[in-house]
């Protein structure tokens, strides 16, 4: 008649009553009364639990209703494990933090929240497809994998590329190539080893790749926080008259690149040779010309080659123009010059002459190329 659970509670209740009697007999005073009352209360509570257990028949569904084991909600397959509630909670946390911190975090939280809700929705829908979890998983996969794989791939690649770029920007120009040659060599070597030993377990390869990716991402994160190396684009030409008038080295000369990318399709090549002569070369115009013709209102690429033993610069004197400054006529003499070019070096500069050279232009002086400090080194620039 009594169920197993109710018998357990009856026994415990009787034990509590016996203990209360024994305590009351053995001790005197308030403590004895307190203990006896407490134990009697425990026995009453245990009897109450015994009654509940007796009434629900130890929560044994089969014992109460034999059909319930197959038809009740509790009898259904539980939903598959899902990380999306946790992801959704994370998104909610981002939204909350973003509200008080920064809009970027808020927007990221919204995105995470929406993704989590959508994923959870689809997973819940797929879990109801059948009682077969594997089939349900395949249903979900058919719907979501075409979306998830490209997105995850893109995100993964972005993280890797971004980490890679942070590392490259952190390393110095000198150490960067060395580091990446070593890393690339290690990757190639690892690939070769794996290819030569096809018996290596997939889990080992996956583990190494995971460690490598984590290393790359964590290093990238650290270097992103630390910041990029100091980078500055230094000019290769100057329009400062003081710089262009001398061969003294300035910061522009010290920092300017000596490398020239464009070597073809230049408007003219100006050469300073070992005899201290300056001459121009233009396609079809002979080897040694003291005059070069440049088209007006057009960017002309000029290459300067220094074949002398000195370090010099090429300066273009771009005329002299009378301009009105607050009612006073002032003569302006625009100049452009290369940085100092070492022996056997070359440098480019781009010139634009919006006005014709004299006599059909407004300039008071002819346009010329000169090498500062070498009086005889002059090439006239004709701009029709």
């Amino acid at each position: 008649m009594f169920t197993t659970g109710s018998k357990l509670f009856i026994g415990a209740s009787v034990l509590a009553i016996v203990a209360a009697v024994a305590f009351g007999v053995s001790y005197d005073g308030a403590a004895a009364w307190t203990a006896a009352i407490g134990l009697i209360s425990v026995s009453i509570a245990l009897l109450f639990l015994m009654a509940i257990n007796f009434w629900v028949r130890d929560s044994n569904v089969g014992g109460m209703d034999s059909d319930a084991t197959t038809t009740s909600a509790a009898a259904q397959e539980r939903p598959s494990n899902s990380m999306w509630p946790a992801v959704g909670a994370f998104g909610g946390a981002l939204v909350a933090v973003g509200l008080v911190a920064t809009p970027v975090v808020f927007k990221a939280g919204i995105v995470v929240l929406l993704i989590a809700l959508f994923e959870w929705l689809v997973q819940a829908w797929a879990d109801r497809a059948s009682s077969d979890r594997r089939f349900n998983a395949s249903v979900r996969g058919r719907i979501m994998h075409p979306l998830e794989f490209p997105v995850l791939g893109a995100v993964g690649l972005t993280v890797i590329i971004y980490s890679f770029s942070r590392i490259m920007l952190f390393l110095s120009k000198e150490s960067g190539p060395a580091v990446f040659i070593i890393v690339a060599s290690l990757i190639t070597l690892g690939g070769f080893l794996f290819a030569s030993r096809p018996t290596v377990k997939t889990s080992v390869i996956a583990g190494i790749c995971t460690i490598g990716t984590l290393g790359l991402v964590s290093t990238g994160a650290v270097m992103a926080i630390d910041g990029e190396r100091s980078m500055h684009e230094y000019p290769t030409v100057s329009t400062e008259p003081a710089v262009c008038a001398s061969n003294e080295e300035t910061e522009v000369d010290e920092k300017g690149s000596q490398g020239v990318a464009a070597k073809s399709n230049v408007a003219a090549t100006i050469i300073f040779n070992a005899d201290g002569e300056l001459y121009g070369q233009q396609v079809g115009m002979g080897e040694y010309s003291r005059t070069v013709t440049l088209q007006r209102s057009n960017p002309s690429q000029i290459m300067f080659r220094n074949l002398s033993d000195e370090t010099v610069r090429l300066t273009a004197n771009m005329g002299a123009f009378e301009v009105d400054v607050n009612g006073t006529k002032v003569t302006e003499k625009p100049v452009t010059c290369t940085t100092l070019v070492k022996p056997d070096g070359r440098q480019m500069m781009t010139l634009v002459f919006p006005k014709s050279s004299p006599p059909n232009g407004a300039s008071l002086e002819p346009y010329t190329f000169v090498v500062p400090g070498v009086d005889a080194a002059t090439v006239e620039i004709v701009v029709p």
């Binding site: 399709n265 408007a267 396609v283 079809g284 013709t293 690429q301 014709s356 232009g361």
Partner: protein, 395 residues
């Protein structure tokens, strides 16, 4: 029937007699080199094309689905595959060798006898001749536009660039096309076998009036070219005082000289001070340039070679002249009797109405207040008459 009609029309279109830009009629050794390469390539390509089409047609008809059982399926026929790989490779090598050789020949600049700088801008071409030894005795730079004048039977090297966007210079009778790119100088050989005019067209879409950006090359025999050079270097001759042309000079100075240079033109202040009139197109035009009109009437075209300065009758006389007579006729320039005053007057009256250009105030607002092309100047008919009288003396 419709397809047959369209095909016939396409074929017959190739039979046009008046086709000055026909790529199959070379008139210079550079164009001849291209021609000597293109016809065998077309021949080979045509034969291959016909063979392929016949083979495909045969396969389509012969092996069409007639309910027959699926034939035996086999994988690969090495002999056939190797043959079909080697044969096209051999054809390509056969085409490639003369092609590369021709490319190198056309890029050669070592035999240059004459240099011309060519600058493209929306929508006309400027030609400037640097001072150089030989080449008709060009002792000072010459600047002109519309018509590229060169000595016949002379290796001329064009140094091409652009002031605004990419254009492409192409006179099919004399050579292939070459892009003109801002900041870069490209070279193009030019040689004409005999005196005459050779038409061309910008072949890189360059904006609103790309279709109106034409060009003409004029080849003169060396003596005539020398005469042309000497004429271009002649000093400015002011109009006779009190004449219609003199009034035109004043009108030109007041309205046109902001952009158009006329070498030697000067103005005299009330105190007698003489000041050269220097154009400043860089302040008004996007490209920073406008045609130099010093010797406008020595050329036969204006507005980017879009219109003739000659009447139809005079133009036909020049274009159809024999090589022996051509030089003398061309050097006559534009006379009052031969002037195509109708188009010139319309142009001066309202240029944007005649040739699409970005010249209105609204359009200028999008380009820093500068025009692309020539704006309407708002001149009255009297001023136009005076300016035309003045320009008629720019020969």
């Amino acid at each position: 029937m419709l397809g047959l009609t369209a095909a016939s029309a396409a074929v017959l279109a190739g039979c046009a007699k008046d086709a000055p830009q026909d790529t199959w009629q070379p008139k210079g050794e550079n164009a001849q080199k291209i021609h000597d390469l293109q016809w065998p390539v077309f021949l080979v390509a045509g034969i291959v094309g016909v063979i392929v089409m016949v083979a495909v047609g045969y396969a389509v008809v012969r092996f069409r689905d007639k309910g027959q059982p699926m034939p035996e399926q086999s994988h690969g026929k090495p002999a056939l595959e190797i043959a079909l790989t080697i044969l096209p490779a051999l054809i390509l090598v056969g085409v490639g060798i003369p092609t590369v050789s021709t490319i190198f020949d056309l890029a050669d600049t070592s035999d240059t006898e004459c240099i011309v700088n060519v600058t493209g801008q929306q929508w006309w071409w400027e030609y400037d001749y640097p001072a150089q030894e030989g080449c008709g005795g060009i002792s000072d730079p010459i600047v002109t536009s519309g018509q590229l004048v060169i000595p016949a039977n002379t290796n001329v090297l064009l140094r091409l660039t652009s002031r605004d966007v990419i254009h492409s210079f192409w006179i099919p009778a004399l050579n292939g096309k070459k892009d003109t790119v801002p900041g870069r100088v490209h070279t193009l050989r030019m040689q004409a076998n005999q005196p005459g005019i050779y038409a061309g067209q910008c072949t890189e879409f360059c904006g609103l009036s790309h279709a109106n950006m034409k060009m003409e090359a004029v080849a003169l025999n060396p003596d005539d070219f020398q005469t042309w050079v000497a004429n271009q270097l002649e000093s400015y001759v002011a109009p006779e005082a009190g004449s219609q042309a003199a009034l035109g000079e004043a009108a030109f100075t007041a309205n046109c000289a902001y952009c158009h240079q006329v070498n030697g033109l000067s103005s005299t202040a009330p105190d007698g001070t003489v000041t050269p009139v220097l154009a400043n197109p860089d302040q008004f035009v996007v490209s920073g340039s406008a045609p130099n009109l010093t010797h406008l009437m020595t050329r036969n075209t204006f507005a980017g070679a879009t219109w003739d300065l000659l009447t139809d009758e005079c133009r036909d006389r020049v274009w159809n002249a024999s090589p022996e007579e051509f030089g003398a006729l061309y050097l006559q320039g534009v006379t009052a009797e031969c002037l195509n005053a109708v188009d010139l007057r319309e142009w001066i009256r309202n240029a944007p109405a005649k040739k699409p250009m970005y010249a209105s105030d609204a359009q200028k607002a999008n380009s820093g207040g500068k025009v692309r092309g020539m704006p309407a100047l708002g001149l009255n008919e009297t001023q136009i008459d005076q300016i035309i009288a003045y320009l008629l003396e720019r020969n």
